[in-house]
Amino acid sequence: MKEALIQKEVLILDGLCAGFPARRGEVRVLDHVSLSVPKGKITGLVGESGCGKSMTARAVMNLIRHPGRVTGGRILLEGRDLLSMRKKERRMLQGREMAMIFQDPMSSLNPVMKVGKQVDEAVLVHEHVTHAEAKRRTLEMLEAAGVPDPERRYHSYPHQLSGGLRQRIMIAMAMVCRPKLLIADEPTTALDVTVEAQILDLMKEMSAKGTAVLLISHNLGAIARVCDDVSVMYAGKIVEQADICTLFDRPRHPYTRGLLSAVSSLRDGSEVLSVIPGHVPNLARLPAGCSFSPRCSCRGKECMEKTPEMREISPGHRIRCLWEEPGKKPGEKELETEGLAAE
């Protein structure tokens, strides 16, 4: 227990694997995912649809849907391994020590229950307090989450609220027990930009109060705005990991470079946008060797034979790529418009 107290890392994923049975063997959705989420910081997890980032969140919260399951690795919350815990023990941590908010704030709230009651519930499950006390805590939290007129909103049903307000309710619900870890799975994807900015600010505020946040997003802009460290995911694997400035200034993995130049070419006024050719591979039929190799512009012969391991290239900067020399600059600006060329 002592160790847990001095530990800075709230959440550590160590070689986490998850998958589900398919017709032939097993489809591996998460392949040795390792990352850590330190206290008081926002850690980003970025990738395109289908890369496994939501699955990571669900694995931590024990929400993987049947028939998917965790097949290996460890999930450590302040040093305690969640996977070896008893079911009930693990459940009691959920909502109290770690909480989650979801992508779609409409479908994530129970439509037939007043939102205030739904927040109350989070308190009542974990603490032996009166309903009045729970309500007081709820109102306090709604206020902190920036819900205007909390007393009135307490009695609203989800369909009566706007998307931004619903997401604030979700955040209040997640934070009401003051968890040590908050997992946010695409919290702003369903929202408009102006509201997105407000929600991101709110998350920043929460992390400043000491909560460790794992922010999952496909939006590099949102990641750049609030995160301290970032992991980039591709086809179930983490391909690059660094602090935010290093990742945006000196990306090393060709996929990260491709993503970044795709986004930045949209703004720097170039006539032709930079693209990554082809599209995300089907997890059931991953290419041999490096999963990214078919789309990689600087792949060598060995890329299609040898599976790269994660390795540290400078303190805190890890990549999963076979290319040794940084001077090589693999994957710099590609002017390929033929999207299907690589198929």
């Binding site: 489809v27 959705v29 649809s49 289908g50 998917g68």
Partner: protein
């Protein structure tokens, strides 16, 4: 019931359609790339749901028996044998004889003609009628919708048995009138479902896209809307057939359906009921036949629904 994986795929797929921004990792991982022709779909259904395969076999067997009835039994449908009345099942009469000494098995086989036809023909008619009216109501809206759906409301407000009784009373008994009655009774619910499907499809982007090109109304209905309603309608068909068989048997049981000396399973139960205590097989054998037929269609319908249209489960 047995197909979690399939359901998962479908639900994930639906989910992805509904919310394209939402990454759906599981469906990505599955191979959705293969085209599913109708044959492949059936194969998948049979692989995943053995019961539905068995049911289809039973139904085909029943139809075969119906056609081959004259070959399969040495007795005629109405051959009386007053010396052998109310005989229990024996070597000569596998399922015994009735109060007129007629062979029960023979009458069962001939009766299946009526019962299966009554199951299929009016259901088909009511599907066509209901689907057309429902699609029109949904697509054109306004007064077309009001008129058609009020009519459907009226039909659906009656307890179905009582409506059937009134119509049969007005028209008189007989096979053709049973067809007519069942068609009039059943189109309403089909129309309702077809309408709600149409409303859903009408809002879909591909119909809007067709309208933006300038495709004509009827072409949109026949090329875009009806083909997409088809899975729902097929499933509905297999679920309505057993309902029709049950209704006919109930009508005949009350003496309001098929008239003697014709044979239908319901009628056989009706006449057999007088001898319930000394010759119970007279009522129970045709009842069991009805049940087997209905069960088979229900199983088949369940299987089809799971493959073709998981949304229907809620209705």
């Amino acid at each position: 019931m047995l197909r979690k994986k399939e359901k998962q795929i479908v639900s994930d797929f639906e989910h992805r359609k509904a919310d394209p921004a939402g990454p759906s990792e599981i469906s990505e991982a599955y191979d959705l790339g293969e085209a599913e022709t109708f044959g492949k779909l059936m194969l998948r259904m049979f692989r995943e749901n053995k019961l539905s395969a068995v049911s289809l076999l039973v139904i085909l067997l029943m139809i075969l028996c119906t056609i081959l009835a004259p070959v399969l039994t040495p007795y005629g449908e109405t051959d009386m044998d007053l010396l052998n009345r109310l005989q229990p099942p024996s070597g000569d009469h596998w399922l015994g004889t009735d109060e007129g000494g007629r062979d029960v098995l023979t009458r069962l086989l001939y009766g299946s003609r009526v019962s299966l036809m009554v199951g299929i023909v009016p259901t088909l008619l009511s599907m066509v009628l209901g689907a057309l009216l429902g699609v029109m109501a949904g697509y054109f809206g306004q007064w077309t919708d009001t008129v058609i759906m009020r009519l459907a409301d009226i039909v659906l407000a009656f307890p179905s048995m009582l409506l059937a009784m009134v119509i049969m009373y007005t028209l008189g008994g007989g096979l053709f009138n049973v067809f007519l009655t069942l068609t009039l009774m059943n189109w309403g619910s089909v129309a309702r479902i077809a309408r709600s499907e149409t409303l859903r499809l009408k809002k879909s982007e591909f119909v809007e896209a067709a309208r933006s090109i300038g495709v004509s109304k009827w072409k949109i209905i026949f090329r875009h809307i009806l083909p997409n309603c088809l899975p729902t309608l097929i499933v509905l068909f297999t679920l309505n057939v057993p309902a029709a068989i049950l209704t006919e048997s109930s009508l005949s049981f009350l003496g309001l359906g098929i008239q003697p000396p014709g044979a239908s399973w319901g009628l056989m139960v009706n006449t057999g009921r007088q001898f319930l205590y000394n010759a119970p097989w007279l009522s129970f054998v045709p009842s069991a036949a009805i049940m087997v037929a209905v069960l088979s269609f229900n199983f088949l319908g369940d299987g089809l629904r799971d493959v073709l249209d998981p949304r229907l489960r809620k209705q």
